[in-house]
Every structure is written in C-alpha cells, then in structure tokens.
C-alpha cells in the first residue's frame, strides 16, 4: 500500500479548515445551507472556501498535463552545458576545500556553494545539497541537485487529494446536504459523485499497484504490450506473402481471438489442403498466431487488473470537468443576480 499518498502536511491544513468551519457554525447556532437558521456570511464563506479549494484541486490537473505536454514554464530556465560544467567544476573545488578542512560548517559551505552556482548562472536550475559525509575524515559532502522550482507533481497530488476531500466536506456545509433548487441539487449531486469517486480512486491507487505487481508473473504489463505489438507485426508480415484469398482465411483466425483451438485447427488444416507445399510456413504461422493469442490473453488479464484501479477515472474526470463548469455558472449567477 502506497501510504505516502496519505502522508502530507496538507491533510492537517485541510482538516483545520473543515473543522474550523464546522465548529464555527455549531458555536454560532448556524444551520447549513439555506433555511430558517442559515447565515448569509457562512454561506458566502463556505462557498468561497469551496471555490478556492476547487481551483487548487484543478491546478494539479493543469500542472500535470502542462508537464506531460511539454509546456512547463520552468523549462524557460534551461541553461547550456558549459554553464553546468563551470558550476560542477566550482563545486568540485569546493569539495576539495572541505576535504582539506578549510570549510567546516554546513552554513558556510552552503553559502560558498550558492556563490559558485550564481557565478555560473545556474542558480535557477541547480541548488547545492550539503550532506554529512560517509567517511570519518570528510565531514560534509556537497553536490548539485535540481531546484525543482514548482515542486514535484507527487506533492501537487497531495494538494489535490486533501483539498479535494475537504472540498466535499465544505460543499456539504455550504449546500446544507440537500439544496433547494434543481440546479443546486445537480451541483451538489455532481460534487458528491466527484468526491466519492475521488475517495475510491485514492484508495485504489494506494492498493492497486500491488495487485498488478502480484499478477505479473512472467511478463510485466509493459513487456506484454511490447511483445504483443511485435508479434502482431510479425504475423501481418508473414501473412502478407500469401495470396489475398489465403490471407483472408488467416484473418479468420482473428489473431487467435474469439476462435477456439479446434476451430483454429480446422482453418489451418483447410489452408494446408489448399497449399500442401507451404506446410512448414503455415505451421510456423499457426504457431505465431497461437503465441500471439497467449500473450494477448496475458495482456488482457493484466489490463483488467490495471483497469480495476484506474477505471474510477472514467466517472471522476468527466464529472469533475462538468462540476467545474457548473460551479462557474453558479458563481457567476450568484454574483450577477
């Protein structure tokens, strides 16, 4: 189980916000949502809080796809090889000074290292990491590591998980569990769907990788997929040397899918009869198709396991997109009217 998904300071911050709102409402005798004991300030406060949380939650998605698409803004910091080399040389010399005993405290080493990085013009790309050395005489080691200016996506994931969960709770308080208007009900309903599928998703992401790893016996899912593609290409190539009529009969084998072993044998025997002099080629091709079928079966089985912990996104993502759109409409309509 990937417990790192649950361990973050953001869990604490999100909890404080939710508990704060809840306790505040209880102490003020305010009922949630609209009603005789509702409070306009609380509705506005919880509404704005939910909106901010939604924006933060959506930022994770933007961040993730900006990276994958190659649009990360921090790519603009890129420096050339010569600058990196210059900085590395400087850090190497600094290490020699540390080893000779000239620099003893991490603060001093850190400040020297920062100067070196700045002089080389790589301070936005690399920072110096000062760590205790492993050898007795060498008290500290210094090396360059990436600055990772916007933080790892794994951290943004924490933000997504915890503020997303808090968003659900704040939404409950804001809407009073069952809102009055149809739009409000749709909005709340969608919010709950996103909230619940998200909770299921996080649980599955924490557990699922282990299921898949346990199921991967001889082939990993990546290997199975590459092997399957390669066998498919080999099959197509081997079939292409036969006439279109014979190729069509091979196609009846459907790459081994949906055709039983006995049916396959009948088809292959039929092709044998038609082309007795190509017996060896046909047998080889039959073996290739069987191999492809076995790999495909394995691949499908592995894909099913992966789908078991990824399928929640089929509901979560469209619902979340719709929810974002409806929240925008809700906010604008409240603002305007």
């Amino acid at each position: 189980m990937n417990t790192t998904l649950f361990r973050s300071r953001h869990s604490l911050i999100a909890s404080i916000i939710v508990v704060g709102l809840f306790v505040g409402a209880q102490m003020g005798g305010i009922s949630f949502g609209r009603g005789p004991y509702s409070d306009r300030t609380f509705i506005l406060l919880s509404g704005w809080t939910a909106l901010v949380m939604l924006v933060v939650v959506a930022a994770y998605v933007l961040r993730k796809y900006a990276h994958r698409g190659g649009y990360s803004p921090e790519r603009a910091f890129k420096v050339d090889h010569a600058s990196i080399e210059k900085a590395e040389n400087g850090i190497h010399r600094l290490q020699q000074r540390i080893d000779s005993g000239a620099l003893k405290t991490p603060a001093l080493i850190g400040s020297e290292a920062r100067k070196i990085l700045k002089n080389a013009g790589v301070q936005r790309v690399n920072r110096a990491l000062v760590e205790p050395g492993s050898g007795g005489e060498q008290a500290w080691t210094v090396r360059m590591v990436p600055t990772e200016p916007l933080g790892r996506v794994a951290r943004w994931m924490h933000v997504h998980v915890f503020y997303g969960t808090a968003f659900g709770a704040v939404l409950l308080m804001h809407s009073g569990f069952i809102p009055g208007s149809a739009f409000g009900q749709a909005l709340a309903g969608l919010g709950y769907i996103v909230f619940i599928t998200g909770l299921i998703g996080i649980f599955l992401w924490a557990r699922g990788p282990r299921w898949l790893t346990a199921r991967e016996h001889d082939l990993s899912i990546e290997e199975a997929s590459a092997l399957h593609a390669s066998l498919g290409r080999k099959r197509a190539e081997a079939i292409s040397v036969f006439s279109p009529q014979v190729a069509a009969r091979f196609d009846q084998l459907g790459g081994g899918l949906g055709v039983s072993a006995s049916q396959q044998q009948v088809i292959i025997d039929g092709i044998h009869d038609q082309l007795p002099d190509r017996r060896v080629d046909i047998q080889d091709l039959g073996a290739l198709i069987t191999q492809e079928m076995l790999v495909r079966r394995e691949l499908r089985a592995l894909q099913r396991v992966r789908a078991s912990f990824m399928a929640w996104r089929i509901i979560h993502i469209p619902a979340a997109l719709l929810l974002t759109g409806m929240v925008a409409v809700h906010v604008v309509s409240i603002w305007k009217f």
């Binding site: 090889h81 040389n89 990772e148």
Partner: protein, 507 residues
C-alpha cells in the same frame, strides 16, 4: 579546463611521434590541440575523469597527490617533451593527481580516442609510452590491483621489472578455467568477459572486467592456484601480468606483508565465489573502507545511479515516459519501464522494484568501450556523455550496453535518408521490423579518426535532463514512485550502511 588554443611547434619533431605513418601524422596534425596555461593554473583536478593525453611543449607541470587526511606529496614533474595522462587516456579512470602549471605552459593534448588509435596502431609510439609508463607510473597504477591495495609505492616499484605488458586481440582467451594460474592480471584498457562452467559443464557468463579490474588473486593462496574462470577479450584489450613468484620474491623478507596479501587474496577469492566473507579470518580487513574499495575495484559493486520504480506505488500511468519525451526535441524517450525486476526479497529496501532502462553511468561502461569513434566520454564528474558530433550511428554502443538503455534516433539532418531506430537493433527480428535504409555520406567533421563512415543515426540515452531544473520523469510522477538511487544502495545496503528508506517521500 580553462585554456586557449594556440599555434605551436610541430609535434612531429618530438621523438615520441618520429616514427608515425603518414596517416597517423595527418591525424595528429588535424586533431591534436595546443593549449596554453598561465603559471599557477590547476588544469586537472585529482579525481576528475579525463581521457586526455598531454605532452609538455614548453613550461613545467607538477603533479600533486593529496592522500586522505590532507597530506599532499609531489608525485612527478614534467618539462618540455615529456608526457603524462596515458593511464587516464587508456582506462578513463579518474586522475590520480592534481596537475598544475608551475610556469606558463604550452601543452599538446590528444583526446582519448586519438591516443588509443596511436597506441593500438603505431608500435613505436606504444613502445615509448609503455617504457616511460613502466619507469614512472607503474608502481602508482599497481595500487589499483585489489591484492596490492594499500601497499607503499616504494614497495611496489620493486615489482616494476617483473610486470609484463600484453595486448590481446578481440575474442582471444587470456586464461582458461582449471589451468594453473601463476600471475595476477590487471586490465589496463578494453574489457574481458568472465565465464565459468556450470554443473552440466556449460559455459556461463558470470561478469565483465573492465579497465583497472584484476584477476588471478586466487593464485596467491597456497594450493588454490588454478584459474577459477575463463577470461576472454571482448574488445582489443591491454593487460599487465604480474607473476606471483615475483610478488613473493619481492616481499620475501617481509612476512607481515605476505600475510596481509594472503588475507586480501582470501577475501577477494571468497567475494569472487559469492561466499560470505565473515567465514574467513581476514583480521583488520573485515568490513572496513578498504574492503569496500576492494569490492568496488573487483567490480562486485557498480557505480552510477539507477532510476528505480517502486512497483507498490507505480500506477503505470506512463507520465514518466511522456515527460521524458516532452523535454527532448527528438521525441525519443530515454527511459523505458520494461526494466529489470527486483523482488522484495532480493533487495535491501524490501520492496518490489523495477530498475528502469535508463543510464547508470556505469563504473565500467560497456557503451564507451564499444565506441571506436570517440563519441562516448566520461565527463569530469564521472557521468557518461555522448558526443553528438562524433556519433555515426553504428549501434555498437547499443550492443555494448548491458542494460539496453541506448536508443538510436534518426540523423539530425532531414536530408540524410538513413532513418533507423532502436527497433532495427533487436536481435533476429530487428531487420524485419525496421529494414535498413540507404545511408548517405556525411561531412568530414562527423567522421571518426580516418574512417570512411556514413551517419546512420545518432545514439541517445538519459542525459538527466541536462540544463533543466528537474529530472522530468522523477519530477512528474504523481505517486512519488520513481527515484534515482545507487544500485549499491539496493543490493548492498547493509554493507554501505546507508539509510533504509531512500525513495523520497514527498511532504
């Protein structure tokens, strides 16, 4: 290295180059560089990876070595016509000393590939280099032989005359399992495969030995002096053989040294056979830094760092691969998740892991040894880098890399029709899947040293997202599943005494 290039007197006037063929003279004239260093410049740092060979044209250079504890000694001094750097040029190992220009200096520099070309094909050049190496650096170099590690340079110089230089062509057998072993062999350059017969008598590959590795320590143990494996040259290889009898003779009057050598030999022998070394009485050698160094040098621990995926965290979203593609203009991913699996029982972290196929900057880089075009170098910090201009896409490095991390991309010039891909390098099916296409000649600058060659593609591998403020794969994994760590941490953590949970947990 700070330097400026200048015109300087012809190198061909130096005795070292007096007998070169016309072809080699032309190579030298074209590729050797002259550099000027003002007085007081440290132009090579101790520990820096360099493969350059230097000839002092004018001035004085001094080599200083700083031992652990800060004590610095002068190793050597070089004046006009003398040279240094042959060890690093041959083996690509870190410089043993700091080199400083005492006076303003003009140095001629041959890069590793040019040096190796002359060393392999110009006999007189090789003879002169070997002779001076024997006189000057051999004793220092012998300190990398695990058996002799820690012995004083003065003591080792007594072995100087006994050492035998040997050249082995590709595929030649250097030692045969079961035959009498009577020497310790140090690999100076190139690489060897090490095979052993299994119970059924079939030959099994058990490892590789690269520059500065050694074998034959068994022979030092009484009654156990047979080769325990068969050693075969993978590429043209230079070795240095030290007869055991000469070592024994050299230290005959010093029983404490003989005893120490025996203990070390036992430790190496046990390590070689995968035996728990604690069963042996190796006295003060046990579990010390020295032991670790011995193991590193005997190649039982590889250097470099691997990209490791924790399979209990990885949801197989492929963001790592897609992010790698996104930061490289050629759109070729430098990592593949189809890496080597390591079961939870098989590693010190106790987690199901996958070592992705991304470069480890190996201690003994098979890729660099296979490349004869000088297109793969170790940079001054030990990272293996590809020199784009020198690469001709011959795919030898792809075969040479034991971890299958190198990909071939199409050549950069769209007019060059030689499109090929890593698929074509797959055994048996490669040519079926990606038939070889026509290649066209390329400009002279892209050729190796005097080889007519066409550029079929360019080799690429993980460059750690050089110049960017992140390693895209690690940075973009939503689950914190992928991390960089030393393979030694995974497999030999108890030995290294490192922290257990090294996969960083985001806060």
């Amino acid at each position: 290295m700070d330097s400026s290039e200048v015109q300087a007197p012809s190198l061909l006037e130096l005795p070292l180059f007096s007998k070169l063929t016309k072809r080699h003279q032309a190579s030298l004239a074209k590729f050797a560089q002259h550099r000027v260093f003002p007085a007081g410049t440290d132009f090579i740092r101790q520990g820096e990876y360099t493969s350059d060979f230097f000839i002092v044209v004018s001035g004085i250079v001094t080599a200083y070595r700083t031992e652990k504890g800060g004590k610095t000694e002068i190793l050597d001094q070089f004046t006009g016509g003398e040279w240094f750097g042959e060890l690093s040029a041959l083996s690509n190992q870190p410089a043993m000393a700091r080199y400083k220009a005492d006076l303003p200096c003009v140095l001629a520099v041959l890069d590793g590939a040019l040096f190796k070309e002359l060393y392999s094909f110009a006999p007189d050049f090789k003879k002169q280099v070997d002779q001076i190496y024997r006189e000057r650096s051999l004793a220092q170099h012998l300190r990398v032989v695990p058996l002799l590690k820690g012995l004083d340079k003065g003591l080792l110089s007594t072995l100087r005359e006994a050492a035998r230089f040997e050249s082995h062509p590709k595929d030649s057998v250097i030692a045969v399992q079961g035959e009498r072993a009577s020497e310790v062999v140090l690999v100076r350059s190139g690489g060897l495969s090490k095979t052993r017969k299994n119970v059924e008598g079939a030959e099994e590959l058990v490892g590789y030995l690269m520059a500065n590795s050694s074998f034959g320590e068994w022979a030092f143990l009484d009654g156990e002096g047979d080769w325990k494996s068969t050693y075969k040259a993978l590429v043209p290889t230079e070795t240095l053989a030290l007869p055991i009898a000469s070592i024994q003779e050299a230290f005959a009057g010093q029983p404490e040294i003989i005893d120490r050598l025996r203990k070390t030999a036992r430790l190496i022998a046990a390590e070689d056979q995968g035996i728990d070394t604690s069963l042996y009485d190796v006295g003060d050698l046990q579990a010390t830094d020295e032991q670790l160094e011995i193991m590193v040098h005997s190649e039982s621990i590889k250097g470099g760092e691997a990209l490791v995926i924790d399979l209990e965290k990885c949801v197989r979203c492929n963001a790592c691969v897609e992010s790698c593609v996104a930061v490289h203009e050629d759109g070729v991913p430098r990592l593949s998740k189809k890496g080597k699996r390591v079961s939870a029982e098989g590693n010190a972290l106790g987690k199901e892991l996958s070592l992705t196929t991304s470069c480890y900057s190996c201690e003994a880089p098979g890729c660099m040894m296979s490349c004869t075009y000088g297109a793969i170098r170790r940079d001054s910090h030990g990272l293996i880098r590809f020199v784009w201009d020198n690469c001709v896409g011959c795919a030898e490095c792809v075969k040479g890399c034991p971890y299958d991390v190198i990909r071939l991309t199409a050549p950069p010039d769209p007019e060059v029709a030689a499109a090929t891909s890593w698929v074509s390098s797959l055994p048996l099916i490669g040519n079926l899947l990606a038939p070889p296409q026509e290649s066209v000649p390329v400009p002279e600058a892209d050729r190796g040293y005097h080889r007519e060659q066409v550029v079929k593609g360019k080799a690429v591998k993980c460059d750690r997202c050089e110049g960017l403020p992140f390693e895209a794969c690690v940075y973009n994994c939503p689950c914190g599943a992928i991390e960089r760590m030393s393979p030694a941490l995974i497999f030999d953590q108890s030995l290294l005494g490192m922290a257990t949970n090294h996969i960083e947990e985001p806060q």
